[in-house]
């Protein structure tokens, strides 16, 4: 299977991101106008200069008209993409490829989701009707199964693992507290996290990401044109996307301590970017912490921790903002919030800020390579995106 990648052939030259949260006073169109406007200004381009658009939304509308109507785009290609919670990353990936192949000079990837006034608590997937023989399960319930599986495989007692996942929530809240655009901008004491009411299995309230409204956008051009727009472009080193066969809930050999799709997309992305030791070479990462044990498993699937060792690295503070490999410096899904179609581009927005030295209180010293990881679906049945970006 060839996956040749487009290392250093395209660059992000402008980005915008709304605050994430409960935007009862804004429509989907309002949020698109805001993030697109910020992205145009960031790249110092007029809307007329953008040749084509990729819109990511899972449930806030259908077709490119959602964007073209909001921005009053004049007769240009607008592609609507959807790939569960990795929708925003999928919009970016396709926008980058369109530039890399030479079809367009300047494009926008933009993601949006309006969840808070859907009338239901949590992320709701409008699956096509089926005949009822396929059993469904809530997201917290299926992700909660990572906990006992990890404990059993690596001989960690459940009390210790509760400390580990609580520390992940504590870290991401602490990071989000430093982020003016995050949904939850407060530090939460560890004891309060551990004592929070159960949502499913061992997952408490603070183990679950924020359900939010929001939008984020990126403007992409060919690498050789990047300095026309900015002195500090963000170059794309790798983009990988895989969908799995969705057999984890049906096969007895799947053990719930890994996302096989993430392992495959990480391997592909590292090959594209020429990375052999992600634990040492990746300076920082935004990973898909939809639930705290997801982040724990991702640390191992992405090669930041050895198998069975991630829980120790978490307790040692390796992934804290002041640790050697900060994970979710912007607060992650946990505290920045998770408007589905926007989340993948929100992760990239943190890379954009960090590499330009614009991350304020969260600013890391001299990052070399950054990674974003975006998951759609759950253990045993998901899609996975991994990007690597840098100067």
């Amino acid at each position: 299977m060839a996956s040749n990648g487009i290392r250093d052939r395209v660059a992000i030259v402008g980005m915008g991101c709304t605050a994430f949260g409960e935007h009862w006073d804004k429509s989907t169109a309002d949020m698109l106008v805001e993030s697109a406007g910020d992205a145009y200004r960031s790249a110092q381009v007029d809307p007329e200069q953008v040749d084509a658009y990729w819109l990511g939304t899972m449930g806030s509308g259908l077709s490119g008209l959602v964007l073209s109507e909001a921005l009053k785009i004049q007769y240009k290609p607008v592609t609507h993409v959807e790939n569960f919670c990795a929708t925003g990353s999928e919009a970016l990936r396709n926008a980058c490829y369109a530039v890399a192949c030479g079809a367009y000079d300047l494009v926008m990837a933009i993601g949006v989701e309006k969840l808070k006034d859907s009338g239901f608590s949590g992320l709701v997937v409008g699956s096509p009707a089926h005949d009822g023989a396929r059993a469904d399960i809530t997201a917290p319930a299926i992700f909660s199964m990572l906990v006992p599986a990890y404990c059993k495989k690596y001989g960690v007692d459940e009390e210790t693992l509760k400390d580990v996942i609580s520390r992940i929530a504590w870290k991401n809240h602490a990071n989000g507290a430093k982020n003016p655009k995050a949904q939850f901008r407060n530090e939460v004491p560890l004891e309060m996290i551990k004592a929070s009411p159960s949502i499913a299995g061992m997952l408490g309230l603070f183990d679950c990401s924020g359900v939010a409204d929001g939008s984020a956008a990126a403007i992409v051009c060919r690498a050789e044109d990047a300095h026309k727009y900015t002195d500090t472009p963000l170059f794309v080193k790798a983009l990988s996307f895989v969908a799995g066969p969705s057999e984890g809930n049906k096969r007895q050999d799947y053990d719930f301590t890994t996302f096989t799709e993430v392992v495959a997309s990480a391997e592909d992305a590292y090959k594209q970017a020429g990375i052999t030791n992600p634990r040492e070479e990746i300076s920082m990462a935004e990973v898909h912490d939809c639930f705290t044990p997801t982040e724990l498993v991702l640390l191992e699937d992405l090669g930041f921790s050895a198998r069975g060792e991630g829980w120790k690295d978490v307790l040692d503070g390796r992934f804290d903002l002041d640790g050697p490999q900060p994970i979710n410096p912007d607060g992650g899904l946990k505290s920045f919030g998770h408007p589905i179609g926007a989340s993948g581009l929100r992760m990239m927005y943190e890379m954009w800020l960090q590499f330009r030295g614009e991350a304020g209180e969260r600013q890391l010293a001299a990052p070399k390579l950054g990674l974003t990881h975006n998951l759609g679906g759950g253990p045993g049945s998901c899609v996975s995106f991994v990007s690597v970006v840098g100067k």
Partner: protein, 140 residues
């Protein structure tokens, strides 16, 4: 209007021509499985064509209903109107080699052990349907 509070009841499975044998099995009290008649691969939910060899030849097979518990969870939030609060979900490994998502019943969370032997049973739904559930296996 009756004074009695209506019991929480599962909606009936929709069913389709592909899965009719499965739901009909539930009503008879038998767990049914679908298998490719050419390559032998199990598949669930039932569908017309084998994803491995593209054969449309298929068998409907009575399963033993015996399983072991692979994993479980107690979902608390969000509450779902068709389930009594406190319900448990289970991933069960069937004796024939497939894994299935279902509910775990007749056991308190404290007494649950991963790997414990389970057996299928069936509960009635609205409109005279039935769905499969699992409970600790009775010693036989």
């Amino acid at each position: 209007m009756s004074d009695a509070t209506p019991a929480v009841q599962r909606p009936a499975p929709h069913g389709s021509r592909d899965s009719a044998f499965f739901w009909e099995g539930c009503r008879r009290g038998v767990l049914m499985g679908q298998r490719c008649a050419d390559c032998g691969a199990w598949r669930h939910p039932p569908r017309p064509m084998c994803p491995h060899c593209q054969s449309v030849e298929r068998e409907e097979v009575e399963l033993s209903g015996r399983a072991t518990l692979y994993s479980w969870a107690k979902p608390v939030h969000p509450p779902l109107p068709m389930f009594e609060p406190g319900y448990l979900i289970a991933l069960v490994d069937l004796e024939e080699g497939q894994r299935m998502l279902s509910n775990l019943c007749d056991v308190s969370p404290e007494a649950i052990e991963i790997g414990m032997p389970l057996e299928v049973f069936f509960v009635e739904t609205a409109e005279g349907g039935a769905v499969h559930q699992f409970r600790p296996r009775q010693a036989s």
